[in-house]
């Protein structure tokens, strides 16, 4: 009896004795080593931020202003463009001002903002790039709160761009007009680039400036209001008349939900006509199917791309199209808010999409961040498009409201594993993927023409990030520049690439990708270990087809549309 009692007693005490070191706050040497190993950030990876050494000195920020209002939270874009046609991508940055940097071809850039003519100032948002007058030189469209500016490339050294907003008829719709992402696209295949402009909400001095949030202790804290506090502003679409003027065709787009932040174009049903996806913040997304003759049908709900898996609106922000699973159909990715899975819509054909975020293994892991920018492109040239999200909360004081999250958040890099799933590759991405930023705009471009896709990222509270791709794999690649009859980048041209190893790859020339930004118009294919492409087919926006047999690889190729 006594023995039993004492046995029980010591049995009861044993766990306490075993737990003593933990209770005392002691840590074993192994644990401490493991902790140090975890906290150590990788020294090198696929990407390295070279913005500073490249001479990009621009900065975003709010000079310590807190709280931020909704207008302060959403902006920050940039782009790659070859404004002087020297074959090197230059850099455009949009904050309170617009900065232009000319690529010197040696990994550094020269600030040419002073002679750029891009003199607009204000609460600017982002940019679109396209050659709207078919002179072969890229023009620029700038958006902002109360700002829309169209700048024509003068082809001169000073000013490089000239404001033609009024002459083109695309000026702002009042002082509180709020255009966000925008893009040039040829919607009617007439050879001239039309213009689509997302608009956000009606934010004026008379509308609520701040809303009270509460911290865990119940203390009210002022912060930016959610978008549903404001009237939605809606998408505008302009037709290029071919004479330097645009005509408003917005009423041809039914059921525009508004609160629009992101836009991307693709011929998702492969019918030869360019379609539009618009990501809306807190409203259903709009997928405009182009039926020709300026007739558009909103297939958002019918195609299952308007909502998330549970039929709930999401805070749609950045957006991109790419064939992530190699089935020859362009799929859609939408960046979303905290606690919302990033939405990957797999194109199943017949105008239908399935919600693939969870099957692709990005549904859960992305819910703990807030994404604005997104691009689907092949960073390691293994022939499978990978994913980058730029993350960062909207409220600068979010840590006081919700201590579990933070204003600055690291970007996400997901490697496409080639089987329909993605793996978190932040560690492979390099130290820059461990660094928390207030991520917003993202643009893609191979600024050093080495066949590895680089990226330009906006940190709303800091300097730009120029992500130089230093991938060490020996994968092959092919870059294609497509020029239409007028000699400008054939935005919307679709390339089908056939490899000797089998399988077709599909991609389109688009500059409007990511968020508030403009990307390299060239089409980039990773080829993996195979260096043989048997055929390359270009379907031009005009509908004509050009075939190139056995094109050389590991280089950029220019394909021109024949005049006849």
């Amino acid at each position: 009896m006594h023995i039993t009692f004492f046995c029980r007693f010591w049995l009861a005490m044993t766990p306490l004795l075993l737990l003593a070191p933990a209770l005392c706050g002691c840590r074993s040497g192994e644990e401490a080593k493991a902790s140090r190993a975890v906290s150590k950030t990788p020294a090198s990876g696929i990407f390295r931020d070279v913005a500073d050494e490249a001479g990009l000195r621009f900065r975003w920020g709010h000079n310590g202003k807190s709280p931020l209002d909704i207008r302060d939270t959403t902006g920050g874009g940039g782009g790659f463009l070859d404004f002087d046609r020297d074959g090197l991508l230059d850099v455009l940055l949009v904050g309170d001002t617009v900065a232009l940097y000319r690529n010197r071809g040696n990994g550094t850039f020269t600030d040419v903002s002073a002679q750029s003519g891009l003199s607009v100032r204000g609460h600017l948002m982002g940019c679109a790039v396209g050659d709207f007058d078919n002179d072969g030189f890229s023009d620029v469209f700038i958006t902002g709160h109360g700002v829309t500016k169209l700048y024509r490339n003068t082809r001169k050294k000073r000013p490089i761009f000239q404001d033609v907003t009024d002459a083109a008829g695309v000026g702002r719709r009042g002082p509180y007009d709020w255009p966000t992402s925008a893009g040039f696209v040829d919607l009617d295949a007439d050879g001239f680039l039309d213009l689509a402009v997302c608009r956000y909400v009606l934010f004026t001095p008379q509308t609520p400036q701040f809303c009270e949030m509460t911290n865990p202790a119940g203390k009210p804290i002022p912060a930016a209001c959610p978008p549903y506090y404001y009237e939605p502003q809606k998408l505008l679409v302009y037709r290029n008349q071919g004479n330097g003027r645009y005509e408003d065709m917005s009423d041809r787009f039914p059921e525009r939900h508004g609160n629009s932040l992101g836009i991307a174009f693709a011929d998702f049903d492969d019918d030869g006509k360019m379609d539009i996806y618009v990501a809306n913040d807190g409203e259903p997304g709009d997928l405009y199917h182009n039926r020709g003759g300026w007739k558009f049908q909103n297939l958002g709900t019918a195609s299952a791309t308007a909502y998330n898996q549970d039929g709930r609106e999401q805070a749609g922000m950045g957006v991109d199209w790419s064939d992530y699973d190699g089935d020859g159909r362009l799929d859609l990715i939408v960046a979303t808010y905290l606690q919302e899975p990033r939405s990957l819509y797999r194109n199943e054909g017949d105008g239908l999409f399935s919600y693939a975020s969870f099957n692709a293994l990005i549904g859960e892991v992305t819910k703990t961040s807030l994404a604005f920018g997104v691009v689907l492109t092949d960073f390691d040239n293994d022939a499978h498009p990978d994913l980058i999200f730029t993350n960062g909360h909207v409220q600068s004081n979010i840590a006081a409201i919700n201590p579990s999250t933070s204003y600055r958040q690291p970007m996400h890099l997901f490697r496409n594993q080639g089987d329909g799933t993605f793996a978190n590759a932040a560690n492979e991405g390099g130290a820059v993927f461990q660094r928390p930023i207030v991520g917003r705009g993202i643009a893609l471009g191979d600024y050093d023409n080495d066949g590895r896709m680089d990226a330009l990222v906006v940190d709303l509270e800091g300097a730009p990030l120029l992500l130089h791709n230093e991938d060490k794999s020996s994968h092959h690649w092919l870059g294609v520049r497509v020029l239409n009859k007028a000699g400008r980048d054939a935005v919307g041209a679709r390339i089908t690439l056939e490899r000797e190893s089998g399988g077709k790859r599909v991609a389109e020339a688009q500059t409007c990708r990511g968020y508030l930004s403009a990307s390299d118009p060239r089409i980039h294919f990773g080829l993996g270990k195979s260096d043989r492409v048997t055929r390359l087919m270009v379907r031009w926006p005009s509908g004509k087809i050009t075939a190139v047999k056995n094109p050389p690889t590991d280089r950029y190729l220019t394909v021109k549309e024949e005049a006849r």
Binding site: F5, F9, E212, T301
Partner: protein, 379 residues
């Protein structure tokens, strides 16, 4: 050994003996003995000793674990009649009703027991659980905080708070509360259920599945535990084996909660994932029969109909969904605004109007009352 060290050792041993003696005191020994009985023996003991509240309580909990909800409820009702002053029979009844998905009855009882015993931690905790199930997060949090204030060692209160904090995406605090609950009720279903819920909300699906499977092992007859477990399995399923595991868990949930609309919805999602759209359609329809206002089921029904090639029917359902969802969204946004700005009479007026238009009488009444109170208090 120095005299000082010897004295310290003797004092420590003495203290340990006192603690152990207290631990193995008569009531503890008695509980331990009863808990080792089979259900039948415990049932016989309870019949022979009708005044033994401890035995009755243990038997009721055992019956609930075995899925014998009605028998457990009868036992708790008897206990309430035998000892009308005791709070625990009402608390236990309320939990049993909640477990059976009978939310309205659970709420009535939980409010009653909290009114009778406002300082009873369990009474407040169960009220919090019912409020949370009813979607009233603010009231649930208040009830859990009250419970923890009255008894800092109440595991249910900390578990409830963890759930609320996870809903609010405060995962640091949610994990701390869940750990506290796990320390107070180690290796219990409550602990694993709570940890699983927090990890699920924190997007840590692997850990959520691990914890919820442990909870389900310990509560093989508790419907809500299986509902949570099956839902994470559905979301995670990608292979035939995983589809099967998720389907089995849904079968189990359905057996325990035959009226739960969510089971049919998640079964539909699981089938749609496997491109079995005809079967998914049937499940989404079942979900809508049980809850015609389930817009998520309407949306997925429209999608599966489209995939099944029934485009016209899909368009009709889709139009219905869009109208219903727009109304639902309008109401949700107004509710969020009045929660942030409770003194805005115009917002309450709008909420009342929207609720009346949507024939949501409970919300309309609540908005009307708040508006009247606001207008009465304004100068």
């Amino acid at each position: 050994m120095t005299p000082r060290k010897r004295l310290l050792l003797i004092s420590a041993l003495g203290a340990a003996v006192l603690v152990a003696g207290w631990f193995y005191s008569a009531p503890a020994r008695e509980t331990h003995r009863l808990s080792r009985m089979s259900t039948e023996s415990l049932s016989a003991w309870t019949r022979d000793h009708p005044a033994d509240a401890r035995a009755r309580r243990l038997l009721g909990e055992r019956l609930l674990q075995e899925g014998r909800t009605e028998e457990a409820l009868a036992l708790f009702r008897e206990a309430a009649e035998t000892d009308p002053g005791a709070a625990w029979p009402l608390v236990a009844q309320s939990r049993a009703l909640l477990q059976a998905g009978r939310l309205g009855e659970a709420l009535t009882l939980a409010q009653e027991v909290q009114r009778r015993a406002p300082e009873d931690a369990e009474a407040n905790a169960v009220l919090g659980e019912v409020y949370h199930s009813a979607g009233n997060r603010e009231a649930a949090e208040e009830a859990f905080r009250t419970a923890a204030r009255h008894d800092a060692k109440n595991a249910a209160a900390h578990a409830g708070l963890a759930v609320i904090l996870a809903d609010k995406q405060d995962f640091t605090e949610a994990r701390a509360s869940a750990q506290r609950a796990a320390e107070l009720a180690p290796d219990t279903a409550l602990a694993y259920r709570t940890l699983g819920y927090v990890e699920d909300k924190a997007a840590n699906l692997t850990e959520a599945i691990r914890y919820l499977s442990l909870a389900a092992e310990r509560e093989p007859h508790r419907g809500p535990t299986w509902a949570a477990f099956s839902q994470v399995l559905v979301r995670a399923a990608r292979t035939p084996a995983e589809y099967k595991a998720a389907s089995d868990a849904l079968d189990r949930t359905e057996a325990l909660l035959p009226n739960m609309a969510g089971v049919a919805y998640f079964r539909g999602l699981l089938l749609a994932k496997q491109h079995k759209h005809e079967e998914a359609i049937a499940q989404f329809r079942r979900a809508l029969e049980r809850n015609p206002k389930a817009t998520h089921a309407l949306y997925n029904l429209a999608t599966s109909l489209a995939f099944a090639g029934k485009k016209a029917e899909s368009a009709a359902v889709s139009a219905h969904f869009q109208r219903a969802r727009q109304n639902e969204l309008k109401m949700t946004q107004l509710r969020m605004r009045v929660a942030r700005e409770p003194k805005r009479a115009d917002l309450w007026r709008r909420l009342q109007a929207v609720a009346e238009a949507q024939q949501d009488e409970a919300t309309a009444r609540m908005a009307r009352e708040r508006l009247q109170a606001l207008l009465a208090s304004s100068p």
